[in-house]
Subunit: 139 residues, 4 copies
Amino acid sequence: MLEMDKAALEQFLIDQFPQVVGDYAVGAVTPDALTLRLVVAERHLRPGGTVSGPAMFGLADVAAYLAILARIGPVALAVTTNCSIDFMRKPAAGKDLLCVARVLKLGRTLAVVDTLIYSEGGKDPVTRSSLTYSIPPKG
Amino acid sequence: MLEMDKAALEQFLIDQFPQVVGDYAVGAVTPDALTLRLVVAERHLRPGGTVSGPAMFGLADVAAYLAILARIGPVALAVTTNCSIDFMRKPAAGKDLLCVARVLKLGRTLAVVDTLIYSEGGKDPVTRSSLTYSIPPKG
Amino acid sequence: MLEMDKAALEQFLIDQFPQVVGDYAVGAVTPDALTLRLVVAERHLRPGGTVSGPAMFGLADVAAYLAILARIGPVALAVTTNCSIDFMRKPAAGKDLLCVARVLKLGRTLAVVDTLIYSEGGKDPVTRSSLTYSIPPKG
Amino acid sequence: MLEMDKAALEQFLIDQFPQVVGDYAVGAVTPDALTLRLVVAERHLRPGGTVSGPAMFGLADVAAYLAILARIGPVALAVTTNCSIDFMRKPAAGKDLLCVARVLKLGRTLAVVDTLIYSEGGKDPVTRSSLTYSIPPKG
């Protein structure tokens, strides 16, 4: 059921998103869910030491994207068309963030993915988001 | 951990929302999730026999609201401030809809609830939505 | 620039949505924006006399749908895939609601429409919403 | 009607967000709308040369935040609680982005802001987003 495993997804990130290599580490990948880690560094922080909104948005977007690719393979070029994100709690200081992405729908032209971000070791989610991707028709 | 159980929530619906009595039936209620059934009738349908968007929106809203009340009791008057909903599949014809609502955040002034709606007996969600409620300060 | 004018859209509503005839009246239609009125009746109200959330959601959805059809004509069967709605103020009691819908994007497969709902005569919006529609390929 | 003008907002950015100085330039500020420019640089780009999603999310978030501060002054510490964003078109290569933010609601505890992002010189919006901020009670 998986077209790409953890190693293939990590290689894909290196090849396609060289700017963000080092930011992300792929965790568990199953047909149901993918976990992606944001290796938090100075450049992700806002004053006060919490991870910035754009860094959390980026984490959710990359996790959701990889969750789709894990299912359909690297051939398709999916584009984010919508994201709704709730910022619910402050991330814990000094902790990496873990994003769990679940594919809720994988249609011919649209995919919908739900994500939750946690501070590592925390049990209450920091953010919740849902993202829609437009999948181009096969050539 | 529950301030209101299934019977208390059903009585609350009867008292506060007499217009929609008969539309909804409260299912399982736990601290983690509440299930609400839409007893589908002619007035919920669009041409072609599928449940209308507003009827599904209403189901998600009532389910999320009851999930919050189950946790904080009937005293607070929560107001929906935001809803983001994805319509992912057509509901099955001739089936009731079941909405599972999970409270992701229950703060002093804001609550965030995630919902999935299924056609009864179906395993793929028909809609996904997240709703935010503003909780008035205690008097 | 308009494929359907006000009269054509009203006829379309009568033909395709006989259940809601009487609920809605089409107002001004231009290439930029369409105005739709909800003729508020008892069945749209919650206790306390304000228009219900589902009735406002339905108004926004129909307005956005008609704004798309005004531009592409009645041939296409657009389906709502996402709606994000903010409930910002209570509707005024005893007033109709007016929804102004603007098409922000009209692509080959996706359309995005922004809406604002006002109580008639009011100048601050009651709700804001944005809706995405999937447009099926031409046969 | 404005508690902070363009110069005050720019000074606020320098003081509070030193990490992003140079990214943003405040444009026109009126009670109705605020314009913020993203001075596009290499670090905002994805492969292919278009501005990344997180960079556009960040632009919308900062523009909306400044639009609120322009109205209520620098005393309040507003926090983003929700964002819904539609990515509608590719940004033009080699152009700055301009974000126009309008405050739709400014309540005691919640503010809602609508934004549109354009490529400089373009007339069709690249993204649309709406953001909710929680405003802490006055001390």
